[in-house]
């Protein structure tokens, strides 16, 4: 066997290990691999220097060189041939789509001179209506991730895939090898929920051509939900939840607002039911083990252990059917027998659910039971879903608050794949878009099963855990570089279009499949006719893109809209398959701690964990960033004698992980929570080495990952690390910061709980004759999801500082979301408060700046002039809201190519200057300049701040306060609105609207902290008991 052929021999690359070591060509290749490794920054040459848009970089603002360097000269390099749609200085917007787990929605990508700089929501897409999740914003940095593969890769593996050398592969060679292997048959494709109908068609065609099968694996699996749907309704489709129609929502270990299925849609739906604050405001009742984002928004919250999730549903059913004898099942013996089996569990649960049952029954048809998710996906996971379905149908919600949905099954379950692998039925495995080696529980023995394949091909975009085991990495494009179509859960079809030429020598997986089909001379006529995936896509869309004009016209219209407007399916009713409770058996009682694995709102399944924005995004509940940690209840922390940040070992079976502890108020006792998405070893430079992999503790049973209700040993260690927590203190200390009202109070007198002040000034105030910009934030609809924080970060070039600096108190986010606990640490209510710069009319910061670097404009904005700032930090000290951020070091040295995501409209701040929220003044300027140039008039809604645009619940309104007809002016003057720290007479241009809690009495009535006279002595009383990690490790 000569060396060359051995190198290219696809079947046995690992056999050539010794041979290629002596091969000079290979040595050269390896050298090159390391030189152009994404870990090294100088790969600009080979990576993207050849791209057209870079030619313009010289002219378009040398973004990082803020300062006064005048000469030597800069050059202007115009386009040789300018694309007609690009005008220097103007952004272009492209409609596209985004998929994240089960959620798919429309996006608008802002590009400048051919490079995408920001992702916004597509207002025409019914799933998100222009709003966004934090992760969707972060996708832009995944495009510019320096850790991405720059081309196809080949791994020279040893036999057990435990040792490898990575070399660059040429696409031709890769194709040749792969096709040769594919022709041998026994092919399987393992895909994630790509949500693309046309990709699915192509994938099925591809698998069929090689006699293979498609399997589906998502890093966060909804298998038990789908299985239960199938059992209850005959279809595994995830249903459409119409949360906006529900008056009473009961969530049982279900974080539908934060992480479950489609949070952006859910948030909007939930908020629309929340906005009806005077009549029929919805009520959210949450039963949960951890404190989730949903739990923080609860009107009534119960703490249960994960294993009790099913008991809650069964107890509610018992109250309705057995105690109250309601519904058509009240005489169904089978049901009653099933319920009676739970009598012991009901006793253990010892919750009085009668009132809730009454309320649910009263609102039947207008209520909604949501159950399950990672935190309740125990061995009882399917039973829980079945019971919840049953409860929903008892409450007559089917077809009303729950409609039938579109199936999102892309392939067979992974359990079957593992079986097939173990039986050596598969010799070639293609893994697309998921990372099972990282995220499957060790019990699945997936890694071991992979030893049985001859060739493993992945489409990973980075050197992740799965890619390391592959023989070939057919590196996929980033979604912003690729064509595609997506279907969201409501059936809406949307288009994904590329907004930039591929940055690297990558290839769409769809193109790879077409290439391999062609290479093997297989596939349908459509596939054969398609030169590229784009051709295949448009060919598939021909029947869909119908209308008056030609296909091209219709297609262009769809591209412009980003969404096929006619495609949203109207949901239908459905009926349950009788008594489905027969197989619902009580769960065994757990001893000791129960594990509850969960997803963080920012990190999610960890797919985007290498985006620094997400790592530095404080968790909406814990306010900790850059880490995962074991959440335990305050009571347990006392019992275990652990303090915040102290390490513990969590042991499930024979699996152990070591993580620091976070003491989480409101968490159920006897539960330990751990987030997934950490403990990566191939995620990239940002994420690698952070935290521990929670899935190491998960179990594998019946082809399903068991992530909750596992008996866990918690063993304190000596080591203590500081958690990077961005909030210093967690209770309001009796101050009027977030004002809460009960529904009854609110209906009687909205805003009546706000203590108002009569302020006097020594001098007449300035008049603002033109525009006067202002903002109102509705605390009632704000869920705390923190999408606005990342939106702001993306819009305003806000740097990321890293864990150490966050601990030092140097986080830079202009907009923060404060989270306060109210009540006892064991069972607190939670409020969220987004806090941008208040743009006070009487701004304390302005008075003290010696060099007029911060002044008011005649439009009422508090301007921060970076280039004038000398950095005395006096303004930050004197800001009562502490919204100012200082550049302690130079944060402008951004690793290439991440700097391409910088917004040229916003100056990049240098070391030693102060910065803060600007009310997106660049957007105001741009809109006003455009109106001036076009002789048009500014109307309400023209200027949107980045946070406002992103907010899924529409909690933020912004605009001209002098325009009395504007939404913001109305909100600003509404009795529900109040100014934060009004007694200081700073006259903020940002006001808050009171939070309404749908309950009879609040855990704590706000006391007033400011001026007039005594009577405040007892204001802190309740707070004494309140949870406060005092300084909680931050700062």
């Amino acid at each position: 066997m000569d060396q060359n052929s051995s190198n290219n021999s696809p079947g046995q690359p690992w056999l050539s290990l010794e041979q290629w070591r002596q091969d000079p060509e290979f040595l050269k290749l390896t050298e090159k691999e390391f030189r152009s490794s994404p870990l090294q920054s100088e790969d600009g040459q080979s990576g993207h220097a050849r791209r057209d848009f870079l030619k313009l970089m010289g002219a378009s603002l040398a973004l990082t060189s803020f300062g006064c360097v005048r000469r030597p000269a800069q050059t202007i390099i115009p386009y040789a041939k300018k694309p007609p749609e690009i005008q220097h200085g103007h952004p272009n917007f492209y409609a596209s789509s985004f998929v994240d787990g089960m959620e798919a929605f429309g996006i608008l990508v802002t590009t400048r001179d051919g490079r995408p700089i920001k992702i916004e929501g597509n207002p025409d897409h019914p799933a998100n209506m222009g709003t966004m999740s934090a992760r969707a914003h972060a996708d832009i940095l995944r495009l510019y991730d320096p850790d991405r593969f720059t081309g196809a890769k080949r791994n020279l593996q040893n036999k057990n895939r435990t040792n490898r050398e990575t070399i660059n592969a040429k696409w031709d060679d890769l194709d040749k090898n792969v096709v040769e292997q594919l022709n041998k048959g026994k092919v399987a494709v393992l895909t994630y929920n790509h949500a693309s109908p046309t990709t699915q068609v192509l994938m099925e065609e591809f698998a069929g051509a090689f006699g293979g099968k498609i399997y589906q694996y998502d890093d966060v699996s909804y298998a038990s939900l789908m299985e239960a749907q199938k059992a209850s309704y005959g279809s595994a489709a995830i249903p459409r939840y119409r949360i906006e129609k529900a008056k009473v929502i009961v969530a049982i270990n279900n974080d539908f607002l934060g992480t479950w299925v489609a949070p952006v849609t859910h948030q909007r739906q939930f908020a629309s039911g929340r906005k009806k604050s005077t009549e029929g405001i919805n009520k959210l009742v949450v039963f949960e083990s951890l404190m989730t984002l949903t739990g923080t928004n609860a009107d009534k919250r119960y703490r249960i252990r994960p294993s009790q999730s099913l008991d809650v549903v069964m107890a509610l059913l018992h109250e309705l059917i057995v105690v109250r004898k309601q519904s058509r099942y009240s005489a169904d013996d089978g049901v009653i027998r099933a319920l009676s089996g739970f009598s012991k569990n009901r006793e253990d649960l010892s919750l009085n659910l009668g009132e809730l049952a009454d309320e649910l029954w009263k609102n039947r048809g207008q209520s909604l039971i949501l159950a399950g998710g990672l935190t309740a996906d125990g061995d009882f996971g399917v039973a829980l879903q079945v019971a919840a379905n049953f409860l929903n149908s008892v409450l007559e919600n089917d077809g009303k608050t729950i409609e039938s949905g579109k199936a999102v099954v892309r392939g067979g379950p992974i359990g079957e794949l593992i079986d097939a692998l173990n039986k050596k039925q598969i010799t070639t495995l293609i893994i697309h878009g998921s990372n099972p080696v990282y995220s499957l529980p060790p019990g699945a023995k997936f890694r071991e099963a992979l030893a049985n394949v001859e060739m493993l091909i992945t489409t990973s975009d980075r050197n992740d855990e799965t890619a390391r085991l592959a023989d070939f990495v057919a590196t996929d494009h980033h979604a912003l570089e690729n064509w595609g179509d997506l279907q969201s859960l409501d059936g809406t079809l949307s288009i994904q279009q590329p907004t930039i030429q591929p940055l690297h020598d990558t290839r769409a997986f769809q193109d790879s499949m077409l290439a391999w089909l062609k290479g093997a001379n297989k596939g349908s006529a459509k596939a054969k006719a398609a030169a590229t995936w784009y051709d295949y896509l448009t060919a598939s869309w021909k029947p869909l893109a119908t209308g008056k004009g030609s296909f091209e016209d219709n297609w262009n219209q769809i591209l412009q809209d980003g969404v096929l407007k006619t495609s949203a399916a109207s949901g239908g009713g459905r009926s349950i398959a009788g008594n489905t409770l027969a197989n619902v058996k009580p769960t065994a009682k757990r001893a000791g701690f129960e594990l509850a694995i969960y997803q963080k709102v920012g990190i999610g399944d960890g797919r985007m964990a290498n985006v620094p924005w997400l790592q530095e995004l404080p968790d909406p509940v814990t306010k900790v960033c850059w880490d995962n940690y074991a959440c335990i209840s305050p009571k347990d922390s006392v019992q275990l004698k652990v303090k915040e940040g102290q390490h513990v070992t969590l042991t499930v079976g024979d699996q152990k992980v070591e993580v620091p502890v976070h003491i989480q108020p409101g968490q159920a006792d006897g539960v330990v929570g751990l987030a997934i998405g950490y403990g990566r070893q191939g995620g990239g430079k940002v994420v690698d080495g952070i935290g521990a992999n929670a899935m190491m503790l998960a179990q594998w049973s019946d082809g399903r990952a068991i992530t909750a209700g596992l008996e866990t040993k918690v063993q304190p260690l000596v080591k203590v690390t500081q958690l990077a927590i961005t909030q210093g203190h967690h209770v309001m200390e009796g101050r009027q910061i977030v004002v809460e009202e009960t529904v009854a109070d609110h209906v009687k007198n909205p805003g009546g709980q706000v203590h108002r002040h009569k302020m006097k000034t020594m001098w007449s105030e300035h008049k603002y004759n033109g525009n006067k910009w202002g903002m109102v934030i509705d605390l009632n609809t704000c869920t705390g999801c923190s999408s606005c924080v990342v939106a702001c970060q993306s819009e305003n070039n806000i740097p990321v500082v890293g864990k150490k600096h966050v601990i030092d108190g140097r986080e830079m986010q202009w907009l923060r979301v404060d989270r306060y606990y109210i009540g006892t640490p064991e069972d607190p209510d939670v409020v969220h408060q987004p806090l941008p710069c208040m743009h006070c009319d009487n701004a304390p910061c302005e008075t003290v700046c010696p060099v007029i670097a911060t002044v008011h404009s005649d439009e009422g904005t508090n301007d921060m002039i970076y280039n004038r700032c000398v950095g005395t930090r006096y303004c930050a000290n004197n800001c009562p809201y502490k919204v100012r951020r200082f550049n302690w070091f130079s944060y402008t040295d951004i690793q290439a190519p991440r700097q391409m995501a910088l917004n040229p409209e916003v100056t990049v701040r240098s070391r030693g200057v102060m910065e803060k929220c600007t009310f997106c003044i660049h957007r105001i300027r741009t809109v006003k300049a455009n109106h001036k140039v076009n002789d048009t008039k500014l109307v309400d809604g023209d200027v949107k701040t980045a946070c406002q645009q992103s907010c899924p619940t529409g909690a933020i309104t912004f605009g001209d306060l002098n325009d009395k007809t504007s939404v913001v002016a109305t909100n600003f003057e509404s009795p529900k609105s109040y100014a934060l720290l009004e007694e200081l007479n700073t006259k903020p241009a940002v006001r808050y609207q009171v939070k309404v809690r749908n309950t009879d009495h609040l855990k704590w009535a706000p006391k007033h902290a400011g001026g007039h006279g005594g009577g405040h002595g007892d204001g802190h009383k309740e707070d004494k008991k309140a949870p406060g990690h005092s300084e909680g490790g931050g700062h």
Binding site: D52, K55, G58, A59, L61, A62, L63, S65, F66, G67, C68, V69, R70, R71, A73, Q74, T75, I76, I77, P78, Y79, A80, K81, K82, Q87, H88, G89, H90, I852, V855, S857, D858, E859, T861, D863, I865, Y866, N867, R868, E905, V906, T907, V908, T918, I921, H922, R925, A929, K932, V933
Partner: protein, 177 residues
């Protein structure tokens, strides 16, 4: 006594001179450190005098962004090639241009008017307000080599914004954000 008079004359002379200098600086009579008069050689000796002056080509023909965008924009080579595909194709400079155009490589022009990154200037808004190009750029139609005529100092901007007839805003955030 005469020594005292000499001393007094020297002291007052220095003070007076300094005052005049300071007055000249702050009213933009004298400019220091702003590259006024910068006149670099370009890779292709494009003459504005010939194109804009003698041939009377409208500024907007090439600088097409000037009335719609923040940037006036330097024309892409295809704009040059509109004429130079046929005109003066024997000139070595035009051949250089054609070569750059054909290879898609473009021309690295020297930037003459350079504002720091923290200054946002909008050409369209100024054109809309009726300002002629020559107000800031000088008699460009007479320049063979383009030269920075105005100081482009902040005081230069502000003093024009201050003129009542310009009705221009004087907020810091007009230009800095």
């Amino acid at each position: 006594m005469s020594k005292k008079i000499v001393g007094a004359v020297v002291v007052f002379g220095l003070l007076g001179g300094l005052s005049v200098f300071v007055w000249a600086l702050s009213t933009n009579k004298v400019v220091i450190g702003y590259n006024q008069g910068y006149e670099p050689d370009q890779p292709i000796p494009y003459s504005h005098k010939q194109h804009a002056g003698d041939l009377q080509i409208n500024c907007k023909y090439c600088h097409s962004g000037v009335d719609s965008s923040r940037h006036a924009s330097v024309p892409p080579l295809n704009v040059c090639m509109n004429c130079h595909l046929v005109i003066k194709t024997d000139s070595p400079h035009i051949q250089k241009l054609t070569e750059a155009y054909n290879s898609g490589k473009s021309i690295p022009w020297k930037k003459v008017h350079l504002l720091p990154d923290h200054v946002k200037f909008n050409h369209a808004a100024h054109v809309k307000a009726g300002k002629d190009c020559t107000t800031c750029h000088g008699n460009i139609q007479e320049m063979v080599v383009v030269k920075q005529v105005s100081s482009l100092s902040m005081g230069w901007c502000v003093n024009c914004h201050r003129e009542p007839e310009n009705k221009a805003p004087l907020n810091c955030s007009t230009c800095h954000y």
